[in-house]
Subunit: 241 residues, 2 copies
């Protein structure tokens, strides 16, 4: 007798999205107690079991933690991501008390387009290795990256990355102990279907697209990449120079 038109998005998912948004925009602070399941159920006009389904999904990603008899507590918040010349994903995530993880999606040969050739100081058509990877904080995907490296300078970069799962460690494998970010460009976009699945987002969410190039201490380009960050999970900080 409900006659409610279906939106195709499960109620529990709508509730989970709402709570995640509350955590992301600071209405719920890390460490604080969420409203009780009954209260959440009332505000969303939904059954308590539906709320439990939503909280379970958030708990599985490590965003909240339930304590029997007491309440459900916020674990994580939007990740503060400072952008400076020594940006290191693992350090940023680790400093926030989270465990950084990396996962190789795909590595294959490619050739340099005009843009990439310019960034890497190579000729157009030069052989490249293209690495698709996803980076996570605990169990929450933060961003997916497409990284291009010279195939001549970094042979077997794909299999090396598959082992170390960190760009810093990959470069260390080639005896590059230090590097820095030479350029960063940020734009916004809507997530495409492929990235949506990798970031565990529904279609249409916003992503922050970051194009960046890393160089060695002699300012020689090492790699260039395009990263897509789940907009609601990070907050870029630009230091006042």
């Amino acid at each position: 007798m409900s006659m409610q038109e279906s939106s195709g998005v499960a109620l529990w998912r709508q509730v989970a999205d709402g709570i995640e948004r509350g955590i992301a925009d600071g209405r719920f602070i890390a460490g604080e107690k969420l409203p009780s399941e009954m209260e959440i159920a009332e505000t969303y006009r939904v059954n308590r079991h539906t709320v439990r389904r939503a909280l379970a999904a958030l708990a599985e990603r490590g965003l909240v933690r339930a304590e029997r008899g007491s309440g459900t507590y916020v674990e994580a918040q939007r990740l503060a991501y400072p952008l400076h010349s020594r940006t290191r994903f693992s350090e940023i995530v680790g400093a926030g008390g989270h465990e950084p993880r990396g996962k190789l999606i795909d590595a294959r040969d490619d050739v340099a387009t005009r843009e990439i050739a310019r960034e890497l100081s190579l000729k157009i058509g030069a052989p490249l290795i293209r690495i698709e990877s996803v980076r996570l904080a605990d169990r929450t995907p933060i961003c997916v990256s497409t990284t291009w490296l010279s195939a001549e300078r970094f042979p077997d970069a794909g299999s090396v990355f598959a082992n170390v799962r960190s760009m810093t460690k990959l470069l260390a494998h080639y005896d590059i102990r230090d590097y820095r970010r030479s350029s960063t460009r940020i734009t916004g976009a809507i997530v495409d279907a492929t990235d949506a699945a990798r970031l565990d987002l529904t279609l249409g969410h916003a992503v922050l697209v970051v194009d960046s190039t890393d160089v060695d201490t002699a300012a020689k380009p090492l790699l260039t990449k395009r990263s897509r960050f789940a907009a609601e999970r990070v907050e870029f900080l630009i230091e006042n120079s």
Copy 2:
């Protein structure tokens, strides 16, 4: 035996979103035939009935039209929305061959904040009427707007708008035959839960936030408003002055 973890977004909705995105970004052109239901089912690795559910949802919004024995055809495309000083929603939509519709959500008294007082040349705390409305092209919601008008100059603006359902006609009711846009500011954001429901979007979609003020022929401010456009349904055009 599938063991696939549920995302909380129905498959048919994912397919519908994908096709809508294809129409929005021009992969499918208005008037053209879509791939057959079987082909779509194969590309999304989904049952034909699931595709039919997706197409039915799009057809109900007037985005596609099915012809038995022949195929399914694209009806509408992303709405081209020129931004100029004489921007009129009804004219823009009508020029695109669509039927403009307006719907009053809510009208209530309000008082001027500092920003609104400045835009309308009123004092802070001056009495206002705040109108929440949604505007559609055919059956597709395009944007929701919050409009503020001086309560002294436009008494009963809420009930007038409820009847005429057009800002142009509302102003005509107060003998204002002509007006123009004095300022426009565009930003981007993620849709909030309230707007998402009104725009028939899922949570997290991008909206274009347009702040604008309309003035009469003597440059005296009439109304100011904040509109949120469903980003995937419009394309703002800035004319080269």
